[in-house]
């Protein structure tokens, strides 16, 4: 064990989780796994292009912010979504008093949910800790985050917008956030999570979300990752889908020092629909690593993935998307596309689309392209009087538009458009 591994494992060890018998066992298992694991290095195949070594240089503490000031609260708002259901979390801590929680769904802090036994049989059930350092770390020590349950046959009339603020104004901090979302059968909901920061100290966030989409349930999720350059984030979203369910996740990645997203969907029912959309628009030294998995376990389901990236400055993108079709999953339709544009000489993208198919009657395709902005199109536009700057803007907007069109919450789409223009 190196010194650096020691840091993360022991930084949280003073925390004493409150547990039920179920979560106590799950946490103990996670701890055993954690003890056998080391912080991944680039020698690890899944971490080949994402180097965590800069994390070692920082000292982190685990103390939280206890108050939010007025201005910060005001910044947690999206035009046109003022009357949406609002959840405010600072460093993972759920602030019920600043939130506007709908009556017909259940939203609790992670700790409340754990104490009440709401997490029994769910906690750490799909986000495996066995070979995953961060999942194990998170499952062992996480105390904050939210629990959302959309009850059976409930159709939410308005989206739930979760504002996650990382408050790094006063000191470097390390935060573990644990979310659980349960979409019960026949329910329909849209949940958007907006990630922001305040302050310029360094923060490390490990966030694990376990999402359960029951039979006939529709869940439409969004993540807008817009944290300032001092945030290191490892985000794992582990989804379980049952028969006739539909799940969509659209990830918009704009700012952050180093962000690793793991989005894994177990398509564990027939006639499911799964959509994974991603747009990265990065500059400066941002490094974003998207690992996705569409794990087809049962026949007759459909998955569609489109990740697009625009990389400027010295930014780096990694896309590692896998379609896995198990032997039972006949008649699977699975599609994956990754398209990238490099806007600067110093930007880079590592892309690795993967297909692993064990069934023989499936329709699958995948592909990846990387290029520059279309020079012919630029010239065409300029020849019509459009300045080079404006022409580039139009082309970028058009490129991003394909993902933005998939955002089913109009004000959120406009919000993202403003962020990227």
């Amino acid at each position: 064990m190196t010194d650096t591994d020691k840091d993360f494992k022991y930084i949280f060890s003073s925390v004493a989780p409150h547990t039920t018998e179920y979560t106590k066992n799950a946490r103990q298992t996670a701890l055993q796994h954690l003890e056998a694991l080391n912080l991944p290095t680039t020698k690890h195949e899944e971490w080949k292009y994402t180097n965590l070594k800069n994390l070692h240089k920082e000292e982190f503490t685990t103390s939280f912010s206890l108050e939010i000031d007025e201005n910060t609260l005001k910044s947690m708002s999206i035009d046109g979504l003022e009357d949406a259901y609002k959840i405010v979390c600072v460093d993972g801590v759920f602030y019920a008093k600043y939130s506007n929680v709908p009556q017909n769904i259940e939203i609790l802090s992670f700790l409340e949910a754990e104490k009440a036994g709401k997490l029994d049989n769910l906690f750490s059930s799909v986000a495996s800790t066995e070979n995953d350092y961060f999942n194990a770390l998170n499952a062992t020590y996480a105390q904050e985050g939210i629990y959302i349950r959309v009850p059976k046959n409930t159709q939410l009339d308005k989206p739930v917008v979760v504002f996650h603020l990382t408050d790094n104004q006063t000191h470097n901090k390390a935060v573990l956030v644990r979310n659980t979302i349960v979409s019960e059968s026949g329910s329909e909901a849209k949940i958007a999570q907006i990630y922001q920061t305040k302050g310029n100290k360094t923060a490390f966030v490990s966030e694990v979300s376990e999402i359960f989409v029951a039979q006939n349930a529709f869940l439409d999720c969004y993540k807008i990752q817009n944290e300032e350059a001092q945030v290191y984030r490892v985000d794992t979203t582990q989804v379980h889908q049952s028969t006739y369910s539909r799940f969509a996740m659209t990830t918009i990645s704009l700012k952050g020092a180093l962000v690793r997203n793991n989005l894994n969907v177990q398509i564990d029912g027939e006639h499911c629909e799964t959509y994974m959309n991603g747009l990265s628009y990065l500059g400066e030294k941002s490094h974003f690593d998207h690992h996705t998995l569409a794990d087809h376990r049962k026949p007759n389901s459909y998955s569609n993935e489109l990740y697009k990236g625009l990389f400027d400055g010295n930014s780096t993108g990694v896309f590692n998307g896998k379609i896995y079709v198990r032997q039972d999953a006949q008649k699977t339709n699975a599609y994956q596309q990754n398209r990238n544009v490099l806007l600067s000489e110093n930007a880079s993208i590592y892309t690795k689309p993967q297909l692993e198919i064990w069934a023989d009657d499936v329709k699958c395709s995948h592909g990846a392209t990387t290029g520059k902005l279309d020079e012919t199109a630029l010239f065409y536009m300029r020849a019509r009087g459009i300045s080079e700057k404006e022409a580039k803007k139009l082309l970028l907007k058009a490129f991003a538009g394909e993902i933005l069109e998939r955002i089913q919450i109009e004000p959120l789409k406009e919000y993202v458009e403003t962020l990227i223009s």
């Binding site: 279309d374 012919t376 199109a377 010239f379 065409y380 536009m381 300029r382 020849a383 019509r384 009087g385 459009i386 300045s387 080079e388 404006e390 139009l394 082309l395 907007k397 058009a398 490129f399 538009g401 394909e402």
Partner: protein, 250 residues
């Protein structure tokens, strides 16, 4: 209006234009004809400001400005329009949005206020009618999935919207069936006036039945080897290019 003197240009190491001279005055229609590889499209691209070409000699003046010093968008601002031989597809940008941006950028260049949405749409409808453009095409991504004919017609439609002082039509007629050709030609004729000029680059005499040129030039091997009136086009159609080449060689 446009004055080209001894223009020479190359792409990489290959000389393509070897000394072209041409004067175009307001109200005139010029046709440039010539076999494949004679440099016709290069001339069009050089006028529009495509930077793959290196200008190795000569000069081009447009309304008393040194055209070769201007960026492509500035040339458009001055009033030059190129109808592309191969119009570019731009996914995600609608024809309407594209044209509105172009118009207002040109207006900005000329120190004019931008058109508001109402004025713009009125103009759009008016011009779409002239070219019998299906208005549903305007809402689609620019040229994406358009047929060859629709693309060419869209070029002339854009020309009608932007009202250039000098329009260069680079083989706009190729790929058009006779009905589409007639519509395009009518569009050009309606836009023609004593203040503007047209340079029509073509392989075929056919388009010149509908748009009467004042001058016809034969381009061969990077040079204009013969100029004449519209009867020259008919003669070329009938006899091919060999006799002109032979005459030029003498």
């Amino acid at each position: 209006m446009l004055s080209i003197k001894n223009l020479q240009a190359r792409i990489e190491e290959k000389e393509i234009l070897k000394g072209i001279s041409l004067e175009i005055r307001p109200g005139e229609v010029h046709a440039i004809m010539g076999p494949n590889g004679s440099g016709k499209s290069t001339l069009a691209s050089v006028l529009a400001g495509k930077d793959q070409y290196e200008i190795t000699g000569g000069e081009v003046r447009f309304l008393d400005k040194d055209l070769l010093e201007l960026a492509p968008e500035e040339r458009a601002g001055e009033g030059i329009f190129l109808a592309f031989q191969h119009p570019v597809e731009i996914p995600g940008v609608t024809t309407t949005n594209f044209l509105k941006t172009a118009m207002n950028e040109i207006r900005k260049y000329r120190g004019l206020e931008p058109l508001d949405a109402v004025q713009f749409l009125k103009l759009l409808k008016e011009k779409a009618k002239i070219l019998q453009m299906d208005e549903s095409l305007m809402k689609r991504s620019l040229n994406e999935g358009f047929s060859g004919g629709e693309k060419k017609r869209n070029e002339i439609f854009q020309m009608a919207m932007l009202e250039p002082r000098l329009a260069v039509l680079d083989e706009t007629d190729s790929g058009l069936d006779i009905d589409a050709l007639r519509i395009v030609a009518e569009g050009v004729n309606k836009l023609k006036n004593s203040q503007n000029a047209f340079l029509i680059i073509t392989h075929f005499q056919r388009i010149l039945d509908y748009i009467q040129p004042d001058f016809v030039h034969v381009l061969f091997d990077g040079r204009i080897i013969k100029s004449g009136g519209k009867e020259l086009a008919l003669e070329l159609e009938e006899k091919g290019y060999d006799w002109v080449k032979a005459e030029a060689a003498v």
